[in-house]
Amino acid sequence: MTNEKYELTVACITKNQDSIYRLAYSYTKDRDKAFDIVQNTVLRALENYERVKDSASLRSWLFRIAVNEANRYVVKNQREIPTESSDMPEETYIEKAYERGDESAVYEAVTRLPEDMKTVVILRYFEEMELKEISEATGAPLSTVKSRLYAAHRRIERMLKEVKV
């Protein structure tokens, strides 16, 4: 007899592999490193699928693993990659936003958000997850998800203003 839960997990992985890769890439900006994150996510999911209690939360559980993996990557590489905004060469980004035209300005701003805000924005708007699902996927309480999303809005708006000045 086939293990239904296992098959559901496999199906969920197959269905969401592109999304996980995109999420990973938004963290790493590097294809190989994004590959690593996807690989670890898949392995961990297959290893631990029995722990998922409700198959309805399979997707958010899978994203939770991916977010954790991505965060692990960020922590590991913090010394190498400047993630503090003070280290960011501001002008370069302004130029970049202009070069690529206004429509990419929001995307640029999203990628420059701190990791926790970026995750919430990506899951909410790009992956179109429900807030509750995001709460499950990030392990943060719903209220925190909301305030992060709100803070992200504010931050993006501010960044856009900076660009437009």
Binding site: Y25, Q39, V106, V110, F126, S147, Y150, H153
Partner: protein, 330 residues
């Protein structure tokens, strides 16, 4: 941030190139895991190792293409339906809900008319626009539990006002005829009942909504209710939130100053305890947590004193702009 901005950002995100090797890698990982598991259970999985034959591949391709086509058609149909629903926005709640679930990004919530009625009904002329706060669909941050609570309250106030107004008018009518009034004298008198709302301020995350109820017959009166909401935290704002620690002092000194200024400039104005009324009525002393206020279009805090609270009835509802709203959340 506008919808188009998020949508174009989403498009860029979706255009993140997926390396061709990704799917191969993932399916390898899965197949290896499957093999490992089956090995553990002492079984071999022929199925997993079997490569799909050409015929199968072709049929999969076909299905995929068909699905894609279906998807496109459905999207077009959905768009057409959307237009119809938007046109029916204020007609009923189901429509309003559907419309509110359209993606609106950068907006935390919106205010819609959920019940609307204009016209005569027996002894009454009714002008009714009952609002509801809808969380703004897929871009919403706002909890429906919070808005539901407010909406229920608005509905309750409206319904009770309507019932109370009608009962009052019935009593009046009854008394009129009981005390010898004639049909001719009555002359088809009607009572005006007005329930309306006004969005005073809406700038994320703050929404300031006014619900106004009024009735007019032999006398007219007006009641106002205010909802000042911080939609990022799902709570009602207090004066302290918008003015800071010194809210009491700010409100009191500003109200006092403006009352004096007003009566000095126009002697037809009158406030309890000021000027000529100095000795005859109790003067305005202080605001408290329950003092009504709203945020005006310029982002200023406006205090609202109901009829008869600080001034004679003919003065109506009094408003005082007391200062700029403090930034509520960051």
């Amino acid at each position: 941030m506008k919808i188009e901005d998020i949508e174009s950002a989403k498009k860029i995100y979706e255009e993140t190139e997926i390396p061709r090797e990704l799917h191969g890698m993932v399916s390898n990982l899965i197949e290896n895991d499957r093999k490992k598991r089956n090995g553990k259970h002492g079984k071999s999985s022929k199925h997993a190792e079997k490569k799909p034959d050409t015929e199968n591949v072709i049929s999969i391709e076909k299905t995929r293409r068909r699905k894609h086509y279906m998807l496109k058609r459905t999207a077009a149909a959905a768009a057409a339906i959307t237009v119809l629903f938007t046109a029916g926005l204020n007609v009923n709640e189901a429509f309003a809900e559907t419309a509110a679930s359209l993606p609106v990004i950068g907006e935390l919530a919106k205010v819609l008319t959920v019940r609307s009625y204009h016209g005569g009904e027996g002894d009454y002329n009714i002008d009714m626009e009952i609002p509801a706060i809808e969380s703004a669909g897929s871009g919403a941050i706002t909890d429906t539990e919070f808005t539901d609570k407010i909406n229920k309250e608005i509905e309750k106030i409206s319904d009770e006002y309507m019932a109370q107004a009608k009962a009052q008018f019935e009593d009046y009518k009854e008394a009129f005829f009981a005390t010898g009034g004639t049909e001719e004298e009555w002359n088809d008198r009607k009572m005006d009942i007005i329930i309306d709302y006004d969005i005073k301020y809406q700038n994320n995350p703050v929404l300031s909504l006014e619900l106004k109820t009024a009735k007019g017959w032999v006398a007219a009166d007006e009641e106002r209710h205010y909802y000042n909401l911080d939609l990022s935290t799902d709570r009602e704002l207090k004066l302290e939130d918008v003015l800071g620690e010194d809210w009491r002092e700010i409100c009191n000194s500003e109200t006092d100053r403006q009352i004096k200024e007003q009566i000095a400039a126009d002697n037809s104005l009158s406030y309890f305890g000021y000027g000529d009324n100095e000795l005859t009525a109790e003067k305005f002393t202080t605001v408290d947590e329950d003092t009504d206020f709203y945020i005006n279009a310029e982002g200023k805090v406006v205090l609202v004193f109901p009829e008869y609270s600080i001034a004679p009835g003919y003065m109506g509802v009094r408003e005082f702009v007391v200062g700029d709203m403090r930034t509520v959340a960051e």
